[in-house]
């Protein structure tokens, strides 16, 4: 067996640099602790985000943005794999977790303090630090206003979305990194703050497994440029995300990966009679929340010919060419809903890779049909002339009755489903402070520690929960 080369460690080793890892690193470093952050992906700067979108997808995303979640149907999952994690490639939508959700989590899962004033203060601090605000109305793009107006016409509830940004210039490149640095991803916010407080960040290191001795982790074994390295530490914060964290725990002999929760996305392309300039203005500025009680959120999605072609791919090249030829009259919309079932993240046979699984439940299919029907109703009310639904083999739709028929007959196998929010895949292995049961010095502090999918864009919830766990650790250590 090859001997691992020793790499300088730290008292706290944070594995991963996304929303959970960056929050952990900053709070620990600002409390005077010695912190090392290791990140599998590369470190880029805002100036690097101006290039080809498809090249950037290859650089910034794990598996180029198409990690398969196996099931019926197979779901394409996208997550960041770079310094800053998925916060670099998300839409910066920072919704506060509703008070009733936190209260339920506190009572149902024994997560003390979630409904407290302290949690409220932590959320308010995060919102200040990330400059959370709604976009000035003049910046909101036309497609978003169309949604808001149509919602008002139907008597549906819609809201301007809170986003973490300082001086957004509407470059409409959120999914491939903000080239102006306006989006307050961890790359430009919490990680620099952590470094200022003394934390070290090393990119290009993939954690392979924790080395466990007598019920404690003593080091993390990792791969760096093809070489196996060993990084010693006293405390280990596993923040590799919903797929990699359970994979790391499993590789370390700890049972994890059950209870995977998901938000599922269905993308719809709509064509209008008039010019929408869909690439201008802030794209994801409005969310229609009328059906939030069914876990359904409706909104706009980033627009670019690349995304238009990708969204229409299953409709055939002829459709792609026709719609792209007058792209100004089209826009992309997304219906997001919370999956009702639980999946799992196992280990791939003969390969040290996660094997995520989820199959749509009967409830999911019913919710997907309803989400598509409601989206069609909203878009036709907004004046759409033609819709392309994410159902493989479905024809273009020109009226609401046909949309209802087609959506109502959608089956799991024919739904074209994406996800960018996977959560809760380690929760069952953790105590109420995020510590791994049986390993007192290992905390999982990312999306995988949440007890379930929150039904909203989860970044702020993840950061607040990560902050809570760091606080509890510091209190118990003092």
């Amino acid at each position: 067996m090859t001997q691992a080369v020793s790499q300088p460690g730290a008292r706290h080793v944070v594995i991963g640099s996304g929303a959970g890892g960056a929050t952990t690193a900053r709070l620990l470093a600002e409390a005077g602790e010695e912190v090392l952050v290791i990140e599998e992906g590369p470190r880029l700067s805002s100036a690097d985000f101006a290039g080809s979108k498809i090249d950037l997808m290859g650089t910034l995303y794990r598996d180029g943005g198409v990690t398969p979640i196996f099931g019926r149907p197979n779901i394409a999952f996208g997550e960041g794999c770079c310094v800053g994690g998925s916060t670099v490639i998300n839409g910066a939508l920072l919704w506060r977790p509703p008070a009733d959700l936190l209260a339920r989590w506190e009572s149902q899962y024994g997560l003390a303090g979630l409904g407290s004033a302290e949690m409220d203060a932590r959320l308010a601090w995060l919102e200040r630090e990330l400059a959370v605000s709604v976009q000035p109305e003049r910046d909101v793009n036309r497609a978003s206003w169309l949604l808001a107006d149509a919602a008002a016409q139907l008597g549906w509830r819609s809201e301007l979305a809170p986003r973490g940004q300082r001086g957004c210039r509407n470059s409409n490149r959120c999914p491939t990194g903000c080239p102006t640095g306006a989006k307050q991803s961890m790359l430009v916010s919490f990680l620099p703050a952590a470094e200022k407080a003394g934390a070290r960040i090393v990119s290009g290191i993939e954690a392979l497994r924790l080395v466990v001795r007598h019920g404690r982790a003593v080091a993390v074994e990792a791969s760096k440029g093809g070489q196996t390295v060993r990084i010693d530490g006293e405390f280990f914060w596993v923040c590799g995300g919903p797929m990699q964290s359970p994979r790391l725990l499993a590789a370390s002999g700890i049972k994890a990966g059950a209870g995977l929760g998901l938000h599922l996305n269905l993308k719809v392309v709509a064509r209008f009679d008039h010019d929408l300039a869909p690439h201008q203005g802030t794209i994801m500025a409005v969310q229609v929340k009328e059906h939030a009680d069914r876990g359904i959120l409706l909104g706009g999605s980033n627009f670019d010919p690349v995304y238009l072609a990708a969204t229409l791919a299953s409709h055939g090249t002829e459709v792609v060419e026709r719609v792209a030829a007058d792209w100004c009259r089209s826009s992309i919309f997304v219906a997001q809903f919370k999956a009702s079932g639980r999946g799992s993240v196992g280990r791939m046979p003969f390969a040290d890779r996660p094997l995520p699984r989820y199959s749509l439940t009967g409830d999911d299919i019913a919710t997907a049909r309803l989400a598509l029907e409601r989206m069609a109703e909203l878009l036709f009310a907004a004046g759409a002339r033609e819709l392309f639904l994410p159902i493989v083999g479905s024809p273009p739709v020109h009226n609401l009755d046909t949309a209802r028929q087609i959506a109502g007959a959608a089956t799991a196998a024919r739904l074209d489903v994406l996800s960018v929010h996977a959560l809760a895949s380690c929760h069952s292995a953790l105590d109420s402070s995020g510590r791994v049961r049986g390993l007192a010095n290992v905390v999982v502090n990312d999306a995988s520690m949440l007890p379930e999918a929150p039904g909203i864009n989860p970044q702020l919830t993840i950061m607040a929960m990560a902050g809570r766990n760091v606080q509890r650790h510091l209190e118990s250590a003092s």
Partner: protein, 144 residues
């Protein structure tokens, strides 16, 4: 070198002509046939499509990569059989072979792989500066 690559290499001079529109059409046809491997012989843009698809696939789960390897082998065969035409127009015998393989490898999502390759090929095509110019698409940031 298999027959398909040889056939594409023979066509390369035409595909490499300055007529970007023709190259785009070839790439779009490839997106329809979901056949990136042959694109390696077809010049800059199509070659880039193949590389992007392959680099994405390099990062994919192990069984998916095996499945795709098999799939591309099958496409080599069917594409030759159909003289490089669209997969949908491939000969019945080729399609029967696909179906029988798909049955044998039932847990492997062939249809999704096809969709993935098609999607990636289209994304590369619409990321191309020439294509974007032809659509008169200008980046919002550049307008400021």
């Amino acid at each position: 070198m298999n027959l398909w690559i040889a056939a594409m290499a023979a066509l390369a001079p035409a595909l490499l002509s300055p007529d970007g529109g023709r190259r785009r059409k070839v790439l779009l046809a490839m997106a329809d046939s979901a056949f990136p491997a042959g694109a390696l012989a077809c010049g800059d843009m199509a070659g880039r499509a193949a590389l992007v698809v392959e680099s994405r696939i390099d990062g994919m789960a192990f069984p998916m990569r095996i499945a795709l390897g098999i799939l591309l082998k099958l496409f080599d065969w069917s594409a030759v059989a159909s003289c490089g035409c669209r997969f949908a127009e491939a000969s019945r015998s080729a399609r029967r072979r696909h179906e029988s393989m798909a049955c044998r490898w039932k847990p492997i999502p062939f249809a999704e792989l096809l969709r993935l390759v098609r999607t990636l090929s289209l994304m590369v095509c619409y990321d191309d500066p020439g294509m974007r110019r032809s659509l008169t698409y200008t980046e919002p940031e550049a307008q400021r």
